[in-house]
């Protein structure tokens, strides 16, 4: 698992009040580099989310790892995206497949964000990443 994610998770777990947790998440979002507009194609837009969520996925053949760039127009989703990126970015397909994002989010008390609600983009993002990894590990 990605080292950064561990650190982020620790910060979140040290925020006992949920308000503090969300403040940290929104801070994470702020630190996420903004996605270049050229990457914000219709294809990159995760469909059917209440918030706008863009996800750009690339597979680095040389390094055999996933490159993930994402953005959102909401602070919280952007923060959660930062968490997901730190969880998956730069991993090989088989490393990606070994990660259970549901468990990780559960541990952080953020599992509701992975609910199957169609308005919610986070689950769709995780599924896209997993699908790409599966495809590349064939």
């Amino acid at each position: 698992m990605n080292k950064t994610f561990k650190e982020l998770a620790d910060t979140l777990n040290n925020s006992p009040a949920w308000q503090q947790k969300y403040r940290e998440i929104m801070l994470l979002g702020k630190q996420l580099p903004t996605m270049p507009d050229v990457l914000k194609t219709p294809d990159a837009l995760v469909p059917g989310c209440e918030s706008k969520v863009w996800l750009y996925l690339e597979f680095d053949l040389q390094e055999n790892c996933l490159v993930i760039i994402g953005d959102s127009d909401t602070r919280i989703v952007k923060g959660l995206l930062a968490l997901i990126l730190s969880l998956y970015n730069g991993l090989t397909p088989s490393q990606v497949l070994a990660i259970n994002a549901f468990e990780e989010f559960e541990k952080l008390g953020l599992i509701s964000h992975l609910s199957p609600s169609r308005g919610n983009g986070i689950k769709a993002i995780v599924e896209r990443i997993q699908a790409m990894a599966e495809q590349k590990s064939l």
């Binding site: 949920w18 308000q19 969300y22 929104m26 209440e50 918030s51 127009d73 602070r75 919280i76 308005g119």
Partner: protein, 404 residues
Amino acid sequence: MFAVKKIRADFPILTQQINNQPLVYLDSAATSQKPQSVIAATELFYTQQNANVHRGRHSLSEQATTAYEKARDKVAQYFNVQSREIVWTKGATEALNLIACGLTEQLDKNSSIVITPLEHHANIVPWQQLALKTGAKLHILPLEADATFNMSACIEFLKQVKPTVLALTHASNALGNITNLSPLLSTVKGFNTITVVDGAQGAMHLQPDLNILDCDFYVFSAHKMLGPTGVGGLYGKYERLNALQPYQTGGEMIETVSLFNSTFRDAPAKFEAGTPNIAGVIGFSAALDYLFALDKNAAYDYEQGLFNYAVNKLNDIDGITIYSNLEHNIGTICFNYKDEHPFDIATLLDGFGVAVRSGHHCTQPLMTHLGINGSVRASFCFYNTHQDIDIFINALHECIALLD
């Protein structure tokens, strides 16, 4: 005085805790909560009466059928129309689809359909589909920038278009705005226009007398009227109703079936193919009993009081924009805080146990009309309290502190 404490005791869910805090449910426009009597009626049906309806010559089936048809009588009574003018569907969306599809043969490329920018997607997309199928032209009633009606402009518009179909909402689900239906409906009276009113939001809060309102069709969803999910229906003036083509086909709606040909019953049967949501309809019957027993005027005044109280409190907060019409409103506030995303506000409010809705509320064209991407919506029902609003406003202050 409206005895809200007594009312609340009828709604078991209202004692739920969310995130270790009391639930403040401000999302009744999405779906209302259910009184114990509705829950009990459903349970009673399954434990004592469950059988299919309109078939079988055994006692359970007769009992179930009687209870099921009694519910139809109650809806008819609620709207002051005849029982045979009520068709059961799974909700307002299906009811609107049933009407739009059923009109296919009555429209052609010379026909026109008028809707408003206020409509829920359920009262837009079926008409777009009908226009596509028949070549009819879709027109939009020209509303003000704030989505209110300039009545004389609208009347002028209707006089020019002489619509074949006029479909408009009784109350906006996103804004809560109440449509002043009478002048619009009477304008098209002479044009033989088929008038369709989307009562999903209006049916409970405004309980229209459809005999007086005199529209051709009125649709409703039980789940927004204290009733179960998966039930709704439509009223149709009998001649207009029976003139619609059948919608779904199958058992119970037929008169005779041979392998190559079938004939259909008259309305309402011809629109009720298959096994209906029997338990749902019987639960809705209990919901109607609840509404009959309620002092509707007192409840309405109380809801208006809640609405005004909340509007005043919101207006005290710097940076809040309210999009709702404050004069004619069923008790729904549509607002944003600065350019913060409604999703963030709703998510943070949930942390405080406050349930509001965020997003486009299935009214994307309205959002476009208002020049926004979405909004936060707080919608009230007579089981809400002033304390609910205090908690909501306090939570909103805390959200703002987290965001700013």
